[in-house]
């Protein structure tokens, strides 16, 4: 195979898609501006809407508009919320002594999905990354300190990505939390379940050995 093979003809054809309707073209442009949607998929979605009842499109746009104008950040934990305080923070059955610190809203969803955690959350909105111009002042760090000052808070769990920037952030928060009467912990790092030791990288395996846990049979 060489580089001189002519390209299949559909590529330039689709790049300069020719529409008979300006309305269709605008709709395609709007869909294609979304992440993960190319122009072909955008066209498919638009034609699908055209072939359906006009009500369906109205429902879609209305729900999107309502979502966008109604959604806000929870005043307590900065998670997405319909109200001033999100449903997690408002749920009195949850353990109010534990706060799990995460980078973003998707992490909240991932942890909720596990159904293993019954405490509260705190969404930082990123990690400290000076190269990207993100310092602690750009994160929701101050509100975490305010929450930690409350008596009811006993433990703060750092569920932040195990990257250099994540470590910097944990380091920074932990330092600032040391005057409060709270226990700070991080999620365990180690060999993944279902993984084979042979394929674990040396650093992870080394840390897993150092931070080994007692084995309790029959529990």
């Amino acid at each position: 195979m060489t580089a001189n093979v002519p390209r299949p003809p559909f590529f330039p054809y689709f790049c300069g898609m020719n529409f008979s309707s300006k309305l269709i073209e605008n709709a395609v442009e709007s869909f294609a501006a979304l992440p993960g949607i190319g122009r072909r998929t955008a066209l498919r979605l638009v034609l699908h809407l055209v072939n359906q009842d006009a009500d369906k499109t109205k429902d879609l746009t209305e729900s999107l508009q309502k979502m966008r104008s109604g959604i806000r950040a929870c005043e307590v934990c900065h998670n997405l919320s319909d109200e001033r305080v999100c449903s997690v923070c408002a749920d009195m059955r949850r353990d109010r002594g534990t706060i799990c610190v995460v980078e973003n809203i998707r992490d909240v969803m991932a942890i909720e999905e596990t159904q293993q955690y019954r405490g509260l959350y705190h969404v930082l909105g990123g990690v400290i990354n000076p190269i990207e111009g993100i310092g602690p002042d750009k994160l929701n760090a101050q509100t975490l300190m305010q929450r930690a000052a409350k008596d009811e808070v006993k433990e703060i769990i750092m569920a932040i990505s195990p990257t250099i920037e994540g470590d910097t952030t944990i380091f920074y928060l932990t330092k600032n939390l040391k005057d409060f009467d709270v226990r700070v912990s991080t999620i365990a790092r180690g060999v993944s379940f279902g993984g084979e030791l042979e394929y674990a990288d040396e650093l992870t395996l080394g840390r897993s050995i150092v931070a080994r846990v007692p084995y309790r049979a029959g529990e």
Binding site: I128, P130, G135
Partner: protein
């Protein structure tokens, strides 16, 4: 360890080329600019995930092409290892081992140890300290995967710390507590790297002396000394003391990224004192010592890539160099040379297993 076959697609001046190598000695001959070195660089790429010449992947790709691909069938400790490198601009570079794509390229470094000697290696002795650190890091990254992890971490923290210093300058403020976080985080990787470099030099210097003595007919004594402020002083204190300087200059002025190696010949600085010939012998000794060190530490013979090292050497010295390579039982070796007849004569006389390839305008016969 050896490379059985290599396939290059759109790599530098090669359209598509497959080469089958001798397990012992491979010579690539041809005129200048025909693509001899490119074959060595392709082999280096499959071992180190990048070009030896520090050039961008886009420039490694053949002009006008929209991807390049390298495929190598290696045999390592009697097991087949198929390594494939696929590079498409604007996409993530992919390195595959036996059909599985590496999640991180650094996991591949050290699997297939390699040493390359090229004519521009004299920069290691002549230029600034960066070249010598590159030599150190190249050797240690291949011999110890944890070294590379710490090095990547340190460099990342260093970039973040420098970005922070620039940010402080632009915003006309200075947050010592935040800077302190980076200082503390840098301690662990820096300590590991200093210790690793120090230990390396202890093992490496005797090997270097031995190799220099074997190559050079002169009887000069050579030395190789590791210089780091972190050897004698506490890194945290050094960073603390340099804080004002760092603030003004907007970069980190102390750390393992300032370490250096001092090469000496008869107790004088090599850079100033050595003749051209001595410099050349020294650099070749350095590379052969790197080879020996990696072989001892990994327990497998690395690939040896010798690019145009016979340049400006007379026939007698070329013969003794080739005999040295054959005698000392290096593993699979690749040599480029512009003079086919010279190599043919010497190798036929030596009676070893070898293969000669003739390279012409991006095609290889052999």
């Amino acid at each position: 360890m050896h490379l059985k076959t290599l396939t290059l697609t759109n790599f530098k001046n090669y359209d598509l080329q497959t080469l089958a190598f001798s397990e012992r000695l491979n010579c690539l001959t041809g005129r200048n600019g025909m693509g001899k070195t490119n074959v060595l660089d392709a082999i280096y790429y499959l071992c180190m995930c990048k070009s030896h010449f520090g050039i961008n992947d886009r420039l490694v790709m053949q002009r006008g092409a929209d991807f390049f691909r390298l495929e190598g069938d290696f045999v390592r400790e009697e097991k087949k290892e198929k390594i494939v490198a696929k590079v498409i601009p604007r996409k993530r570079k992919e390195i595959e081992r036996n059909g599985v794509v590496y999640k991180r390229l650094i996991d591949h470094i050290g699997l297939l140890p390699v040493v390359m000697a090229a004519p521009d290696d004299t920069v290691i002795a002549r230029e600034g300290s960066e070249e010598r650190r590159r030599f150190l890091d190249n050797t240690l990254s291949q011999s110890d995967p944890i070294y590379l992890r710490h090095l990547v971490a340190y460099n990342r923290l260093l970039s973040q710390r420098n970005a922070l210093l620039k940010q402080f300058h632009a915003e006309r403020r200075f947050d010592e507590n935040l800077l302190q976080i980076f200082d503390e985080q840098m301690q662990e990787p820096a300590a590991f790297i200093v210790k690793a470099r120090q230990q390396f030099l202890e093992n490496f210097e005797p090997i270097l002396k031995e190799n220099y003595a074997a190559i050079s007919e002169d009887q000069e004594g050579i030395a190789c000394v590791y210089n780091s402020k972190l050897l004698t002083e506490n890194f945290a204190d050094l960073l603390h003391d340099a804080r004002e300087k760092d603030r003004v200059l907007q970069r980190t002025t102390i750390g393992i990224h300032k370490d250096d190696l001092a090469f000496k010949i008869d107790a004088h600085a090599l850079k100033v004192f050595a003749s051209q010939g001595q410099l050349k012998s020294f650099i070749l000794a350095l590379k052969l010592a790197q080879y020996e060190f990696l072989r001892q530490h990994k327990g497998i013979a690395p690939l040896l890539l010798l690019d145009d090292i016979f340049d400006k050497l007379d026939r007698g010295r070329v013969r003794s160099l080739i005999n040295l390579i054959l005698e000392k039982n290096y593993g699979q070796t690749f040599i480029t040379d512009t003079d086919e007849n010279r190599l043919q004569d010497i190798l036929s006389a030596a009676g070893s297993d070898f293969k000669i390839f003739s390279v012409d305008e991006g095609t290889v016969d052999g």
